[in-house]
Structure formats: C-alpha cells, structure tokens
Symmetry: C2
Subunit: 466 residues, 2 copies
C-alpha cells in the first residue's frame, strides 16, 4: 500500500489525500446500516487514501497502478447511495470522481449535453435549463448525487413515467475499464452493432469500471405543466386506475399513488382519512396536456376515484426532496428505511399485502407502508417504508436486517423484482442470486472475472458471496 | 464431426438432419452477396448437419455436445438476415430454432406474451391481435423472421418512433449459453440489479447464446389510427420538420421521410416531382390522435411543407412489406442493397450528401437514395438504397463491396452509427472496430472469450478479425 501511495503521489501529487478528514469522509455511502454502525461506535474503517481525480487520465492512471500493485479501489461519487455499495477498508484506496466536474458540451440543436461524471445532478439540470432544456431525470437525491452515479447505479427519477429511467436518457458514456483503458461509446441515437456496451456499466456500481463522462439526450422545458389529484377507497382501486391509463398509452411524467397510511402521513391536509391519494403531473405541448388531463380524469373516475385537492401536488413539488436525515431518526431510536421493488400489475397488490404483513408482524415495527411512483405498461414499482423502534437500542441493526430480509423473501416467493432503482450494494447482495438465478449470477461473475480478474474494483459490492 | 453427429442422433433422433435438402437450405441467410455467390456458381458450402431443436433442452444438449467435441454451431432462425451473420461450412452444425414454435402464455391483464423463439413474427402478431393486443414491432421481414431473431439481431420495426425498438418491447428472455446452461431473466418491468443481462444477447447475432423464449410487453390495439402526408422542397427541409416534432415530444408511430428520388420512385402517383414526401401514422386514444394530428400539421407547415395526398399512406401500408427478391434483381444484372445507419440531427444532411456523392460517383451506380424511418429526440436513421449495374457481371460482387465500403467510410469519417437495425453479420464486421473503437472492440472480444472460450458459437459473425 505504501508503495502504491508513493507511486500515486509521484503521478498525481496532492490529489492523493491521506488526511484523516478526507479518509473519514469517504468511508461509506449513505446506507442506513453504516450510519447506525457509526452512531453506535462500530464505525467503518478508513481507506488508506483518497485520490481526487481531476481528469479521465487521472482515473486511468489510478486504476492501472492499483492493478499493477494489486490494491483494491472503491469509486466514490456523491456518496448518496443507500444500499452500501461503498464501503472502504484500510487495504483499499478510494477514488473520488467529484473533481471531474462540469459541462463539456451543450448542443441545443441535437439536445445533447456532455458532462464530466462528477458533476452534481442539480447543477447539471440547472445548467441545461438556462438553455430552455431539461435532463428530465429527477432522483430525490438530485442535489446529493453525481450524474455518473446515476449511471453507475441505474437510477430512476421522479418523472420517469413519461421520460424514462437513466437508460432512456443516457446517450453515450466514457468509462475507464479496470485495466485503465478508456471506452467511449459512439454518439448515435440507436445502434444494432452488437450488444449495447453502455448497458454493462449501468448498474455496475463501480465493479466493472469508473464512469468519467456522460452524454444525455435532453428535452425542451415543457410548454405546459399541470397537476391533478384523485383519491381512492383503496390502494388496489388506485392501482387499477394506474394500469388503465398506462395501458392505453397516457404518460403523465409524475404518477404517484400512496397507500392510506402514507396519504395520511404526508398529505393529511389534502386527503380524506383512510383514502389512497394519487398525484399526477401532466407535461408537454398544451394540446397534449389538455387531452391527457381530460382522459386521465375520466379513467380515474371510472376506476372509482374522487377528485382530490391539487394543493397536494404543489405540496409534493415543494417538499419532494426533503427527507429527514437518517441520523436524526437513528438518534431517536427509530430504525427507518425504504425498499423499492417492482412487479407486474397482477402481483402488485399481492406483494403489497405480503410485505406489509410480514414486516408488520414484527413487534417493534410501528408502520409499514408503500407508494407506487414509476409505472410501466406491464407493471409498476412499490416503494416500501418501514419504521421500527426496538425496545433496546442494541437490537436496532438486527431489526433493520429482519425488515429487509422479510421484504426480500416476499419478493423471491412471488417472483417480484428485488430492486427498482436503488441498486444492490451490500444490503441486497445475497438476494441478487435469487433475482438473477444461478445461471445469471454465474454469468455476472464471469463478466466480472473477464474485466477485473483480480477483483480489485469495488470488492464486496453487488456480487453475492459464492 | 461424425462422432458429434452420432452423439446428437443418440439424443435427438431424427431431429438431426443430414439430408442434402436441409443442409442446402441452411447454408446462409438472405445476405445479398451470398445470393450473388450462389447465382454465380460460388455457392457457399453446406453444414455437416442441421439440428431441428424442439425444446430448450434440445438446444442445451446440442450446445453442450458441440462444446464437448469442439464443433462450431451456427444458430438459424428465419434466415431473413441481410448482413451475412449466418454462413455455414462443412465443419459446422446448424442449429435451427424454427421448431421452437408457438405461444406459451398470453396475459391480457399485464399485457405480456411469452413465445418460443422460433415463432414467426407475423404469427405472433396475429395471435396477440386476437385478444385485442399488439406487439407493435413491425420489421419489413415480419413474415420471414422469428421473434427470437428480432432479439438476436436487435431489430427495429416500422412503428418504432412511438413504440420503440426491440429493446423497448422485450420484457424477459430465456437464452441457452454456450456451455449449455439456461438463463431466464426475471419478469419485472424494470430493475436496478446489476447490468441488464438481456442486453448482452440483444444484437449478439448468435455469438453469445441461443435465444429460446421471449416475453414481450404488449399494447392494446389503438382506438384510433389516422394517416397524414406532407411534402417538402428538400429532404433537409423535411428533416427540420421531423426534428421539430420529435423535439417537443409528438410520437407518431410511423414517420417516414423520403428523398425526392425515392418519393418519385415509390410514390409517383401521390407526390409532385422533385419533392420529398413525408408519410405519418398517428395512433392511440382518439383525443391524443386528434391533438397530435393538428400539432404535427402545424409544425410541418411551419417548416415549409405542403399537404400531401393521404393515398400515399394507404399505398405504403398496403405495399410496405413487398420488396422484389434480391434474386430477381441479381438475375437482371442489378446489384441492389440497403444500408441503414443513424446519426444526430446536425450530421444527417451531411451524411446524406457524403454517402450519395461517394457512392453516386461510381460509374456503374444508377441511383443512390435514402429515407428516414426511425426518429429520436437527438437524431434519426438514414436508410440508403443503392442500385448499380456493372458492365460485366463478374464485377457485380466488387461493385457491391465498393458501395458498402464507401458508405461505411463516410460514417466513420463523420462519426455516424454504422448500423441502425440490420446488424453487423459479415458485411459490416470490419467496420465494427471503428464503431466500437479499439477499447470497445477488445471489450466485446473479452465478453465473447469469457462466455465462449473456444469460439464455437457462430464463428465469423459480428466480431472483426484481429
């Protein structure tokens, strides 16, 4: 390790940071369990050093040297991941991409924006909005995450129902492979030229390469934006409305249906007690918005909806990215987390019941609830939230693990997808073997072995233990 | 080889076909150059045998045995590929998937249809239409190609501008890997669970696995379908109209703009001489169609269009899949082929000029023309057609190669994508190295080596020579 640090210093000078502050700040991402461990005195160890890359060449040099000397590397973007994909140890070097910052090219004619991967999401979006354009990708973490992190974690945004997920927004990328070579993909709107190599890195969570540049295909800011709200007797009734409007092809970018628990907790001023609230945002040319607004309202009423208070939409828009920090909750003895999964329409209500009852029957659990926020022709996601308060603080970690275990077990039993958009990291690593099946898991290991034979890129993340 | 055939016969009985008829019929796909070679007495050699798989287990058994005995396998679906991905030789066995036929499951509620991979496209579409649904994927080859072939070649359909390409329609797949193991992907509408493994096989052209089942996410048959036509002073003016309507988010499923040569050749009765014809189809709920129709007409007129004769749309719909067979053309001494490429809006007119002049200046070339038929926010495809008649029949193959070479060279020079939807096969194999760059090419080789170390799956297709 000292040999590596010396070699890195020779090449990258003071970009190689061994200060306590830098090493402490790059121990892990925002995973709840890592934060709990910190709080309870089981702090994660520090990496040996943090390399602040400022160029693709810096990333390439670092990966080459680490490969040469057999030292593991943990890539680090915004650090906002919530699944534990980032966890350093004294035998690792953290490679921060935050210094790879800024817009490289904005082409308003073709609606393409090329950013260095460490650009923060909010900055990127504000920059293209200056030119009347939008990336249209709004993860709740937009002010905490990097554009490269969006790609590495296969992220989704709040407007995904119309604008798609990161795979529908990403036009091209540059990624440094584990051997230090630099892949740049062709800037073409679509290709039938072998497997789509970009897909290998979307969701790779730093295990197959380090993303250094991303090019997004943008949209113009919409001519019209209008909100709408409805409420239903039950989540199931609301799901039928979602299904009916997705089926015929309406695509409001925001389409969020909350169960009665979340409707009461987050929208008490706007939704009658015990009802499931649906909030929508229509966007696009005025004529498209007008047609969609009318049709969606009709479909919702046909499914049993009552008109809701549009103030709920404004409320959501204003507060959508404000969540209490995990630290505050943990300090008050609460174990809280979200688990986003996805499945086909038929299985959604079954999965909702299975998870809420399996988790809800734990004595320390105060609430389990869910909403749907990303819909597709053949299914939707469920975004579960659990809140538990174990009697003894030393049981908090076990409680956390048990809530997760029961949710994942319900997904496996029902054949639902275990992760809609937060990724795998360490929290779902063992369940990935069920999601992919034995052959898929072995295939992923084969790909990893082929690109990174010594297993030096982000070891411990994504891939299940053998 | 005889040991393999004996072993295969023991396991698969009369599914192992060594008849001359079967072997002759499975020598190659519909690649123009292979047909020319046949015609000119340079017939491609026959495979040693054709295995008619009837189940996934048959495919698995065949691939395992071939791996064990080191015999190359050429997967064969509908045989309608036009790039030479399929080319047998006496040291290979052809594995036909056509016996893997039929619908396995149709779920109207979730709009999912699961087919065995050898089902013909037209049959699949007609079957789901019986239940009021559509796959929405309309390649010109729909009556000649299999649903598995659509996936293996990363196909596009005529309605792609609204309904997307095969990657937007494919929900899940089953594929037999080169070692005989069977991968089934999770039936979930979206996942952030590592790289999307389906993507590895879309466009793999039989080199990474044999697809045995595909599940599509369907759509309902549209409430309304209406055609429209416009014509422009130039292709460039028409392209501006396409860009303007794609930009704000209108998505007519069919959006085809022909240069004046093709407008004159194919739509002489409906388009004034020298004009570039645009034909469209709007589909969806009546209100959406009405809004789109009006808005698109306005945008077209703003770009300088004159209203066209809607009879052109009917004409296209009726004749869209009727093309003269290559054989007829070749017999009359004509060398004809299509080359579909794609690029960003800014580069489209430049690429059009570059290809038409580079190919057009060849003395034997009678015509080079193009249309755009698949549009995206940030660009579109160009589908070139060249027609040449060399003085001497023995120059036909060289003329063919030179037209291709010049087109590919223009793409490389301008940074355009070399293949929009026909794939690579053998005709574009060397240019793939430019498309992917040296690192991408090496990455693809690494993937191939990891899955198929002995290189037994469809050798000679897709991957450039070292």
């Amino acid at each position: 390790m000292s040999a590596l640090i010396e070699r890195l210093r020779k090449e990258l000078g003071d970009q190689v940071d061994t200060s306590d502050a830098a090493r402490a700040a790059h121990r892990h991402d925002s995973w709840m369990l890592a934060q709990l461990d910190d709080l309870q005195g089981r702090s994660a160890p520090q990496p040996a050093a943090v390399v602040h890359a400022r160029s693709t060449a810096d990333v390439s040099r670092t990966l080459s040297l680490c490969r040469e000397l057999g030292v593991p590397v943990v890539p680090f973007g915004g650090g906002s991941g919530v699944c534990g994909a980032i966890q350093a140890s004294p035998d690792t070097v953290v490679l921060s991409t935050r210094g790879l910052d800024g817009l490289l090219e904005l082409d308003s004619y073709d609606m393409l924006a090329r950013f260095r991967a460490g650009t923060m999401g909010g900055e990127a979006e504000r920059r293209v909005q200056q030119d009347g354009l939008t990336i249209g990708h709004w993860p709740q973490s937009i002010e905490l995450s990097t554009v490269g992190g969006w790609v590495a974690t296969r992220a989704a945004g709040q407007y995904s129902t119309a604008y798609g997920n990161i795979e529908d927004v990403l036009f091209a990328l540059e990624v440094v492979l584990p051997d230090g070579s630099v892949l740049r993909t062709r800037e073409t709107p679509r290709a039938s030229a072998g497997p789509d190599l970009r897909q290998l890195f979307m969701g790779s969570e730093g295990t197959l390469g380090v993303i250094t540049e991303v090019t997004f295909s943008l949209r113009p800011l919409p001519e019209a934006t209008r909100g709408a709200a409805f409420h239903f007797a039950s989540l199931e009734q609301g799901l039928e409305a979602l299904r009916s409007l997705m089926r015929v092809g309406w695509r409001p970018p925001v389409l969020r249906l909350y169960d009665s628990i979340e409707s009461g907790r987050q929208f008490a001023d706007w939704c009658p007690d015990g009802r499931a609230l649906l909030i929508l945002l229509h966007e696009g040319p005025e004529a498209a918005v007008a047609a969609e607004e009318r049709a969606v309202a009709e479909l919702c009423h046909a499914a049993g909806a009552e008109a809701g208070d549009p103030g709920s939409v404004t409320h959501w828009l204003e507060h959508r990215n404000q969540v209490p920090t995990f630290a505050e909750l943990l300090e008050s003895g609460l174990v809280v987390d979200t688990i986003e999964v996805a499945t086909t329409w038929q299985r959604v209500p079954v999965l909702y019941d299975a998870v809420t009852s399996a988790v809800g029957e734990l004595p320390s659990v105060r609430a389990v609830s869910a909403h749907s926020s990303h819909s597709y022709r053949s299914g939707t996601n469920l975004y579960f939230t659990f809140i538990a308060k174990p009697e003894r603080r030393e049981d908090m970690a076990d409680t956390y693990r048990e809530c997760w275990r029961r949710t994942m077990e319900a997904c496996a039993r029902l054949g639902a997808g275990i992760a809609h958009h937060h990724g795998i990291g360490r929290v779902r690593r063992e369940q990935l073997a069920d999601e992919l099946g034995p052959v898929g898991t072995e295939l992923l290991r084969t790909l990893k072995g082929a690109l990174d034979p010594a297993g030096l890129l982000n070891p411990g993340a994504l891939l299940p233990e053998r």
